[in-house]
Amino acid sequence: MRRARDEVAVVEFRDFVIGSQTRLIKFAELLTRDLGHAEDLVQHAYAKVFASWPKLRSGHPEAYARRCIVNGHRDRWRRGVWKESPVEESADYADRATRESLSEENAERDAVLRALGGLTQRERAAVALKYFYDLSTEEIALELGVAAATVRTTVFRALAKLREDRHLAPEGKRS
């Protein structure tokens, strides 16, 4: 009986992962600007979701995973696992731009990630939740654990920074 229930849970979880993994990895990449770290965060978030799957299956497991990703990123940032600060231009992506023969797709992705590099990690999280996941201000506030007014201010500042980003001039009209 229990074995059958576990098997059903595994199948459900697989379906959930297959349906959400691309979105979550992209979201984590927008947050971290590094695919490797993004995949680590998502992997860890999925493990946490699976550990609590019986409770989460009927709720919003993807929202829980997002929170795990945001918190995981913030914790790593606090621990200084990787040091980062808003910079004019990401050296990593600038180097890659010279090293790689970028396709148009890569160039667009790199431009976005480079632009997000000018934001703080909370601004990136708020922007990603708002414009990638289309969450409302209240939902973002809930996920980030801050007040709705803080979210509005954070997004407002992030938008102002992005508008002033000189690298975004050609892409600016695209959204």
């Binding site: 992962v17 493990a47 699976f50 550990a51 992705r109 976005v112 407002f156 600016g172």
Partner: protein, 250 residues
């Protein structure tokens, strides 16, 4: 860059397209995820179990610490466990939540019930006497007096008993009630060549203090504590640890 918040800005488009075209195949290792998740769940369960066990231990330790001191002092003075009266009338008498120890009991000729020898600690005083604990009223003779300083001694000490008259089947008999401190489990008393023995019972609320009582025979004509010619305390191993005491206790 303006840092002033401007209402309505949320309707403006983002200068970057977060839904950029991406042909990459982004997947996670589901088996690794589930394995890691199972490990997390197992650790969480073990942690919860450990926390629960720790909580039980803490509660147990707290309960043992907060339990009536009779249990603790029993160990200290090697006294035997005794019944503890819980009658509200005696509780009121003791004023300490019903921790009155019955040292021993005898049938009462007057009431047909039992006459109990009781003792307890009441603040700086120590109380003792006879009462019908299980009867309808706490009829009896209770004496409270300042706790003798000799009972604070850590070395085994036996105080001479005080006498209380108790109307038992043996009309004219007296009950001798005394106190001990330290490792004294049994007391023997001699009157007119007649040897009496009593088991020490812990006194609630008074650590390391015990009480003993003997019902003397009316044939011995005991009139005062000075009639006891030999008072000896024995520890839990049965060794004599203290000789005749002549201080306090009555």
């Amino acid at each position: 860059m303006s840092s002033e918040y401007e209402p309505g800005f949320e309707d403006e488009p983002l200068p970057v397209n977060l839904h950029f075209r991406d042909e990459r195949v982004l997947t996670v290792d589901i088996e690794a995820v589930m394995s890691s998740g199972r490990r997390m769940r197992r650790n969480r369960t073990m942690l919860a179990g450990a926390v629960a066990a720790a909580a039980v231990c803490v509660l147990g330790a707290s309960a043992a610490y907060l339990a009536p001191t009779s249990a603790r002092s029993t160990q200290v003075v090697s006294a035997t466990p005794s019944t503890t009266a819980s009658r509200s009338s005696l509780d009121t008498l003791a004023g300490m939540g019903g921790h009155v120890t019955i040292i021993n009991s005898r049938p009462s000729a007057m009431t047909g019930s039992t006459l109990d020898v009781v003792a307890w600690r009441a603040g700086p005083q120590i109380c003792y006497g006879t009462a019908d604990v299980h009867g309808s009223s706490v009829a009896g003779a209770i004496t409270c007096e300042d706790r003798p300083s000799a009972l604070s001694a850590t070395v085994p000490t036996v105080l001479a008993p005080a006498l209380k008259s108790g109307t038992t089947d043996d009309v004219g008999s007296q009950v001798a009630i005394g106190f001990v401190s330290g490792d004294v489990a049994k007391v023997s008393l001699k009157v007119n060549g007649h040897l009496y023995q009593a088991t020490v019972v812990a006194v609630p609320g008074s650590p390391a203090t015990g009480a003993y009582a003997v019902w003397t025979s009316s044939a011995d004509f005991v009139k005062s504590s000075r009639d006891f010619t030999q008072i000896t305390g024995y520890d839990s191993r049965g060794d004599a640890v203290t000789g005749a005491g002549t201080t306090g206790g009555g």
